[in-house]
Point group: C2
Chain length 137, copies 2
């Protein structure tokens, strides 16, 4: 089996402390959070501004990586689906994808609105959104 090494570049600081308190999707209500970048990666934030929208990639380190099918949204009344057709955190590579709005940037500390990730969640990447206005600046 071929594997690759992911490096943690930052972590989430959030009032969300456990899975029971976490909403399933950001639009169901999630608190503000702070992304705390490792000093070695802070240069990668150059040009980031309040008001930007970005894609945040997290590593859901509490997920079950052996799951391949499940009931969507955990509802047993819905037929099982392959995890690659869902957004379940339980999957072979538990990458979380979040579209977030930047509220403030203070060196390696980035404040964001409405992030549905637990306190301490590792961050592995951040990218421009798919259809951005930011690219025209």
């Amino acid at each position: 089996m071929t594997t690759f090494e992911l490096k943690q570049i930052a972590r989430v600081e959030s009032p969300l402390a456990d899975l029971a308190a976490a909403p399933r999707q950001a639009d169901e209500g999630a608190p503000e959070a702070t992304l705390v970048f490792e000093p070695a990666y802070a240069d990668g934030l150059r040009g980031l501004r309040a008001g930007d929208r970005v894609l945040l990639f997290t590593w859901l380190d509490r997920a079950d990586r052996d799951v391949l099918v499940n009931h969507p949204r955990g509802d047993p009344a819905r037929p099982q689906r392959g995890v690659f057709t869902t957004r379940s955190p339980h999957r072979p590579n538990p990458i979380g994808l979040h579209e977030v709005e930047i509220l403030a940037v203070d060196g390696p500390r980035v404040r964001v609105r409405s992030l549905e990730a637990l306190d301490g969640t590792p961050i592995i990447d951040m990218k421009q959104i798919l259809n951005p206005d930011i690219s025209r600046r």
Copy 2:
């Protein structure tokens, strides 16, 4: 430094053989491709159908992982930006994100329209898009 292990779950079969031939974004013209899943992960495709749109996560194994700033789209006339504000493949964790339309599913072989990834590119995840109709089925 904290690291995590990614598992390759599939690979891209594409007529795109080298970087010089690859478009920068799918909407600039990219060929059809086939996603070939490892047999051990094929159950994760259950319920996937032609016409679905999904997010595909690749591992850009030819990227330079030491880059933190660059000129957007490689244009030296544009000011350098941090890679986390761009979609450059060159970044500490070179995860590629692609929104693709499913054309056909034949067991572990999934045909997709317009994928801007090179032949042989490892695939690490596939997910429902952020605002899907698929969730209502």
